[in-house]
């Protein structure tokens, strides 16, 4: 059938939810144990955003300790003492153990319970089937299982805060032998202790991401609608496709490592414990023969692809938003796709650049330095293509576009500052300093999180039929943008001065010596950073209010408020179970904006190609075009 008529049909009936399904599901099956990809996407999104905020709260607590080491926590000090006990907060001052727990759990929650669920699972679930014109994911029940495995994993992680000894405290990387021997002894339960629960929670999270990854790849391979060839897929779908492969293949080695660490902790094996290990002045009774390095290898075999799991969905979102708001085709679509694939492949062979300090041989380190250099090429291709896409566009600075535009320089800073870390010689100096913190936060925080915000503002109308408020969106954006930079820019300085990332006193002790010996001082930066962090927290309030207010009271919009071209905007709003009233057909590429000789400046993928149509050309870089 003619697909364009389905579009106009949908536009005439913006309240498609009034239509009834063949069978009406009960509340529990519809909103809680749902198999509908959109509901699961929203479940992932809401839980992920809550976890993101929680992880951020942990950091806001740590920032007090860093700015005012050893002083009483204001406002929440007494409350935390009542909730977590004297072992965590003594007389309103957080203990080193609690500080370590906050640090380890901040990383764990932000990455595995925040960003991945939101950027990959939430947007992937909600948007991908719609963009490829599928009725749902290939395996809806497995999709539901994926969410609930994630949910239980998250609950286990949260419970670990309340067991004796508190949550995991060996860093988010859980390096052995420390993570093997911590939280053990007569006062600890064999299972109900922070580190063991961290491992169990992780097994559930890995299960969840495995089920999700299989589902995403199978969906993209099998359920593309008629005419939706591989090169007509929106870049977002490509990004999710590569991300799913990374999750599929990189997580299992970590799972094997986690099983081994669990065996070390519960069954007393020595996978990661070397012979003759001495703890607290006494030799430990273990068989020994294990290797702490083995953990690092298996961990970073996940750890590095995980970086691209965090950034690729963000890049996908940014691509959609940029194409839509510049009103012109994405520049270099084919190079973008190829770069994403190469990025995915190369991300598997760079992991040891996280381990320069372990003293590997020159051959091995030369190999990993080389691959690390090579992987910057596809990243630069992607970023350059986005920048060039802005060239000559009539840019609409909507709220999603503001976030997407901010993503570009922020990701650029994050990426470029990674180069000194890629070289063995410079990394030996910068390793484990605040420089590293600043580097990867520039990629993940003002990078991916901004992309996530762009995505939320962009697809909110599709999920709810209402737009989020533009003014309050800008009130959300500008302070967030400023605060992010005030937080992370000084950290480069601190790191280059030598402040270590895991110091409980925020470098106060170091500062005394540094001032005497070198006349340097970096500690004083902690206060402005902390103030900016708390302000960043305040800056999220307009977003939270806007989010819930707009759900009920926001401006009502039609099916395609952004005048976009991809298939999700042809579906009724919000899409009902099964998505499309009539299966859509794709006749053209995903970004046919400003096609010459057309009344509208956008041509949807469902519009058949006219026989006399002049095909769109990618605009050239010359000024005279």
């Amino acid at each position: 059938m003619d697909a364009s008529s389905s579009v106009s049909h949908a536009e005439h009936h913006p309240h498609a939810h009034g239509e009834h399904d063949h069978h009406e599901l009960g509340f529990w099956r519809k909103y809680v144990f749902s198999t509908d990809h959109k509901v699961i996407g929203i479940q992932y999104g809401i839980s992920g955003l809550i976890f993101l905020f929680l992880g951020f709260c942990l950091m806001m607590l740590m920032r007090w300790q860093l700015a005012f080491p050893g002083t009483k926590l204001p406002l929440v000090g007494n409350m935390l003492e009542n909730v977590f006990g004297q072992g965590a907060v003594a007389n309103g001052v957080m203990t080193p153990e609690f500080y370590n727990s906050l640090g380890a759990m901040h990383g764990t929650i932000m990455i595995f319970l925040g960003i991945v669920p939101v950027a990959f699972a939430a947007f992937g679930n909600f948007v991908v089937p719609l963009q490829i014109g599928a009725p749902d994911m290939t395996f809806p029940k497995i999709n539901m299982a994926s969410y609930w495995a994630f949910f239980v994993g998250g609950v286990v992680m949260l419970v670990s805060f309340f067991v004796p000894g508190g949550a995991a405290k060996s860093g988010w990387t859980s390096y052995t032998p420390l993570a093997d021997i911590v939280d053990k002894g007569p006062t600890y339960d064999a299972i109900m202790n922070g580190q063991t629960l961290w491992l169990i929670g992780f097994i559930l999270l890995i299960t969840s991401s495995l089920l999700g990854a299989v589902n995403f790849i199978a969906t993209i391979i099998q359920l593309r609608t008629k005419g939706m060839t591989w090169m007509r897929l929106p870049f977002f779908v490509w990004a999710q496709f590569v991300t799913a492969f990374l999750l599929l293949l990189a997580f299992p080695p970590l799972e094997s490592a986690i099983v081994m660490q669990l065996m070390d902790r519960v069954a007393g094996t020595s996978f990661f414990l070397p012979s003759g290990l001495v703890v607290n002045g006494a030799q430990v009774s273990i068989s020994g023969g294990g290797s702490p390095l083995l953990w690092q290898h298996l961990f970073w075999f996940l750890g590095h692809p995980e970086v691209y799991v965090l950034i690729l969905p963000g890049m996908g979102i940014v691509a959609e938003v940029i194409a839509n708001n510049t009103r012109k085709p994405l520049w270099g679509y084919k190079s973008l796709v190829l770069a994403a694939l190469v990025l995915g492949f190369l991300s598997f062979i760079v992991w040891a650049h996280h381990m320069w300090l372990t003293g590997m041989g020159t051959v091995v380190s030369a190999f990993f330095q080389t691959t690390t250099m090579i992987i910057s090429i596809p990243s630069v291709i992607i970023l350059s293509a986005f920048f060039i896409s802005l060239w000559g566009g009539s840019i609409r600075f909507t709220v999603p576009m503001l976030f997407a535009t901010a993503f570009l320089p922020m990701f650029g800073i994050g990426g470029l500052t990674g180069i000194p870390l890629a070289f063995n010689s410079t990394d030996l100096y910068l390793h484990d300093t605040y420089y590293v913190i600043a580097h990867f936060h520039y990629i993940v925080a003002p990078g991916t999180i901004f992309a996530v915000f762009a995505g939320i503002y962009y697809w909110f109308p599709k999920a709810t039929g209402r737009k989020m408020n533009e003014f309050w969106g800008k009130v959300h954006f500008w302070p967030s943008f400023v605060c992010m930079n005030v937080i992370f820019l000084p950290m480069f300085l601190q790191g280059m001065l030598g402040i270590h990332r895991r110091w409980y006193d925020g470098g106060q002790g170091w500062n005394v010596a540094a001032e005497k010996v070198w006349g340097l001082s970096g500690f004083h930066w902690n206060l402005p950073i902390s103030i900016a962090a708390w302000c960043l927290g305040l800056a999220q309030i307009p977003f939270i209010i806007n989010f819930f207010y707009s759900m009920r009271k926001g401006e009502k919009v039609n099916d395609n408020p952004w005048e976009a071209t991809t298939l999700e905007w042809t579906a009724p709003t919000p899409p009902r179970h099964g998505n499309f009233p009539v299966q859509p057909v794709a006749y053209r590429g995903p970004y046919e904006y400003s096609l010459p000789g057309r009344a509208k400046d956008y041509t949807m993928q469902t519009e058949p190609v006219q026989p006399d149509e002049r095909r769109v050309r990618e605009p050239s870089m010359s000024l005279g075009h």
């Binding site: 399904d21 009725p135 749902d136 290939t138 395996f139 809806p140 497995i142 495995l210 990854a213 299989v214 589902n215 790849i217 199978a218 391979i221 099998q222 359920l223 599929l248 293949l249 990189a250 997580f251 299992p252 080695p253 970590l254 799972e255 094997s256 490592a257 099983v259 081994m260 065996m263 069954a267 007393g268 094996t269 020595s270 996978f271 009774s285 273990i286 068989s287 023969g289 294990g290 290797s291 083995l294 290898h297 298996l298 075999f301 179970h577 099964g578």
Partner: protein, 291 residues
């Protein structure tokens, strides 16, 4: 709402959904066991001479189990082929055979092989005291043969209370045959057939022992990897058996009456998983039993 291509293949990919799904899942399983096997390699290469034991597992039993698993891989294919030929009765019997093989494998593993290990005892002798136990270890002979030394004395522990009671100063071990005649060249290599501990009891002073435990995961990196990998493999076998039982129960015949091809597809997917589990065992068996 219907998800397309659940039973029939999509024309351009030539695959139905679950087949794509299972191959992806198996790819991730390769990485999971790949992580464990690379740990095995890493730890084995790292082990000092004499610290990677040989000949502690029961090779004939392992061989039988290998044969059982391979047989079950054949029967599951026959079960699938019977469905394709629409012979439900044959399917039912082949499926039963597959399930039985899986169950026998697990019983042999969990009720025979593992407990036998848990009842076996080994004591690592301190390097400084190895000389004292030369008559059991025969290290001079091994050195002359260019073989790695023996650092452990194993067998049946006669006084298990010695493990708990600090007042008992000695372990009394009914020696494994290898320690009764250590210089015999026949003992240089592990036995193929399992030989139980002898009647010859040796007393080993606790003061001379570096570390002594039953053959449990914490005994050595060898047993740590053995129990972890075979345990995880056993869990996979159990998962496969449960899925097969589900298809074998009336659920299967109901689906068969509705859409026989759908049941055939499901059995095919589960069969692919089963072959993978079999394949893992083909790696496990030589790595732990033979090499």
């Amino acid at each position: 709402m219907e998800i397309p291509y659940t039973v029939t293949a999509r024309p351009d990919t030539g695959l139905w959904n679950a087949k794509v799904g299972i191959w992806l899942f198996l790819a991730s399983e390769v990485m999971l066991f790949g992580g464990l096997f690379s740990a095995y390699i890493f730890l084995r290469l790292d082990a000092p001479p004499g610290y990677w034991p040989h000949g502690l597992l029961n090779v004939p039993v392992g061989t039988i189990n290998t044969a059982i698993l391979i047989a079950s891989s054949v029967t599951v294919v026959l079960a699938w082929a019977s469905l394709k030929m629409r012979r439900f009765k044959a399917y039912w019997w082949y499926m039963l055979a597959t399930i039985s093989c899986g169950v026998i494998f697990l019983v042999v593993k969990l009720a025979y092989e593992w407990p036998q290990k848990f009842e076996h005892f080994g004591a690592y002798i301190k390097t400084s005291e190895l000389e004292k136990y030369e008559k059991y270890l025969g290290n001079k002979h091994l050195l002359s043969q260019g073989l790695p030394p023996r650092v452990e004395i194993s067998g049946h522990l006669h006084n298990p209370e010695a493990l708990k009671d600090p007042k008992i100063k000695e372990y009394e071990i009914a020696l494994d045959p290898i320690y009764t005649d250590p210089t015999n060249p026949a003992m240089d290599r592990p036995h193929f057939l399992y030989v139980p501990p002898t009647n010859k009891v040796a007393a080993i002073e606790k003061a001379d022992v570096e570390r002594a435990t039953m053959f449990v995961p914490s005994h050595s990196t060898y047993f740590a990897t053995y129990f972890t990998i075979t345990g995880l493999h056993g869990l996979h076998v159990l998962g496969g058996v449960i899925v097969f039982i589900y298809f074998w129960l009336p659920v299967g015949s109901k689906l068969y009456r509705k859409n026989p091809e759908h049941l055939a597809n499901r059995v095919e997917v589960a069969g692919l998983f089963w072959h993978f589990v079999d394949l893992i065992w083909i790696f496990v068996f030589p790595l732990f039993y033979l090499l």
